[in-house]
């Protein structure tokens, strides 16, 4: 349902992705493994439409959406948790998570149902809800970014290096949350990037390895 088809991307003239093809099937759990600078983030950003593919196609639910503006992604049920979290610091944690759902003009009862679901999956967010996002630790911020992605990611969530920089205890909690997610929302596909292939092995069914902008065999 999410597919990159021979995608090449250059940023400021420098090729970052070369002929990348990958598929995230509906409900699939896919890892994208690579070192720093290999092109993991750019791959997710291309799926999100935040960078435009120079060649190749971005397919979403079987449609060619290569030129679709980025802000239409949430309408297709795609949630995104960027590597550096990118929360809105002056908003509370709850307002951060509500925003993408409110922008979609979802019914208040539906928004309420979704936020309760997020709290059920990530109970620590319930305690953080009234706090300003600017005051969170990096690890807490990653949890909030996951919660925010889940508010609109009814079909897929793209998680960019969620374990990067997490304290071991928090990383464990995050991994447990992903397992709960898998059980609770089996239809939601997950594409997750990481530099350490061992970490994700128990969480995913399929692994792509990216090196210097090219997807290799896994």
């Amino acid at each position: 349902m999410l597919e990159l088809n021979g995608v090449s991307v250059a940023i400021a003239g420098v090729p970052v992705l070369r002929n990348v093809s990958l598929t995230v099937p509906a409900g699939g759990r896919v890892a994208l493994i690579g070192r720093n600078g290999a092109g993991k983030t750019t791959t997710l950003r291309t799926l999100m439409g935040l960078v435009t593919a120079g060649s190749g196609r971005v397919m979403i639910h079987g449609e060619d959406e290569t030129r679709l503006p980025s802000h239409h992604r949430t309408r297709h049920g795609i949630g995104y948790a960027p590597e550096d979290r990118r929360l809105f610091g002056s908003f509370t944690v709850e307002d951060n998570m509500l925003l993408p759902a409110q922008v979609l003009r979802l019914d208040p009862s539906e928004i309420n149902r979704r936020i309760e679901r997020v709290y059920a999956l990530l109970p620590e967010l319930k305690d953080l809800a009234p706090r300003k996002a600017a005051g969170l630790s990096g690890g807490q911020g990653k949890m909030v970014a996951l919660g925010r992605a889940l508010m609109v990611g009814t079909r897929a969530v793209l998680l960019d290096e969620p374990f990067q920089g997490l304290a071991p205890a928090l990383a464990l909690r995050y991994a447990e949350a992903l397992k709960r997610l898998r059980a609770a929302l089996p239809d939601v596909a997950i594409l997750i990037t990481e530099s350490n292939p061992e970490l994700l092995r128990p969480l995913v069914e399929q692994t792509y390895v990216i090196e210097r902008g090219e997807i290799g065999a896994s």
């Binding site: 999100m48 935040l50 503006p69 980025s70 802000h71 239409h72 992604r73 949430t74 309408r75 995104y80 960027p82 550096d84 990118r86 929360l87 809105f88 610091g89 002056s90 908003f91 307002d95 925003l99 993408p100 409110q102 922008v103 979609l104 925010r148 609109v152």
Partner: protein, 311 residues
């Protein structure tokens, strides 16, 4: 010190009352500039032109309607509606036709383009309204004056300057703060100001927010101009004066702080009128002295937060 206050306390009081109206006007213009810069990240030099065109248009519309029997009481709503009209027409035209093409450009190019627009609009004003002073003060005369006691005497202040201008500024301040924090559209604007790309990934159409914010900012600039029009004769050059002062306010307050812009406008307005009463030759430089002193101590502005630039 105590002796000075004994001698000059009353005069200082008058200066403060005088400063309120100019603080209110400065705030309206500066807060619009601040909002536009926060969202579009463009320093809009032509913001001053929108102020001037707002002033001229309000005067012209007022003169036209008064000649056709508009009752005096309606002149204040007319000022506000004229400003809304100017912003609603010019805002989208400027954003769609000009600014949209330069968002990806370097800051220098953006500055030059809005400066060019400012120069063009200055000449357009001269073409449309000529260079003779234009005066239309029905709104101010209709409200009359209030006598402020000054020792054994009374000094008449216009109710318009003493109450209407600061009142509208306060309503704008409170309304804007409420709008940005409590409404979805307001929060979307804050989100785009904070992080445009993250906002886009959350489903926000940044192009739409740019258009909306710029139009709104244009309306605020025009409102400042329109409300100032009854208080003084309009002459070429008012746009330049205003934009420079608004830049000083935005730089002093720091980016993105509505309340900060209000407090700074108050400081500048009061500082200027105190100068008028006590050291008139300093009037023009007082705002910039305040700005320099603040920036020496806090380069990010009084209320600004230091931003780390993402690479």
């Amino acid at each position: 010190m105590a002796e000075w206050f004994q001698d000059n306390g009353l005069l200082l009081g008058l200066a403060l009352l005088d400063g309120l109206s100019s603080a209110g006007l400065i705030f309206l213009v500066a807060v619009g500039l601040n909002l536009v810069f926060g969202v579009l990240r463009i320093i809009n030099v032509a913001h001053g032109s929108l102020y001037a065109i707002g002033a001229y248009s309000a005067a012209s519309i007022g003169i036209f309607l008064s000649g056709r029997g508009l009752p005096d009481w309606a002149s204040i709503p007319t000022l506000i509606l004229s400003a809304a009209l100017v912003g609603a027409i010019l805002g989208p035209i400027i954003e769609r036709l000009l600014l949209r093409r330069i968002y990806a450009q370097e800051e220098v190019v953006q500055l030059l383009v809005t400066f060019a627009l400012f120069m063009i609009l200055e000449d357009v004003q001269k073409l449309l309204w000529g260079v003779q002073p234009i005066h239309h003060d029905t709104a101010m005369r209709w409200l009359g004056t209030i006598d402020v006691p000054f020792g054994a005497d009374f000094i008449p202040f216009t109710n318009y300057q003493l109450f209407v201008l600061p009142g509208i500024a306060i309503v704008t301040l409170v309304g804007l703060a409420w709008f940005l924090r409590r409404t979805l559209t307001g929060r979307v604007i804050v989100a785009v100001t904070t992080d445009r790309e993250a906002a886009t990934a959350m489903g926000i159409d940044a192009a739409k927010v740019f258009l909306l914010t710029f139009t709104f900012g244009a309306m605020l600039a025009a409102l400042g101009g329109a409300l100032s029009s009854p208080t003084a004769a309009l002459v070429p050059g008012i746009g330049a004066q205003t934009i420079v002062l608004s830049f000083a306010v935005v730089a002093t307050a720091g980016l993105g702080q509505i309340e900060g812009a209000a407090l700074t406008s108050l400081m500048m307005g009061l500082g200027r009128s105190i100068a008028v009463y006590f050291e008139p030759e300093l009037e023009v430089v007082v705002p910039y002295i305040i700005m320099v002193l603040v920036l020496l101590v806090r380069p990010q502005g009084l209320f600004g937060v230091i931003e780390t630039r993402r690479v």
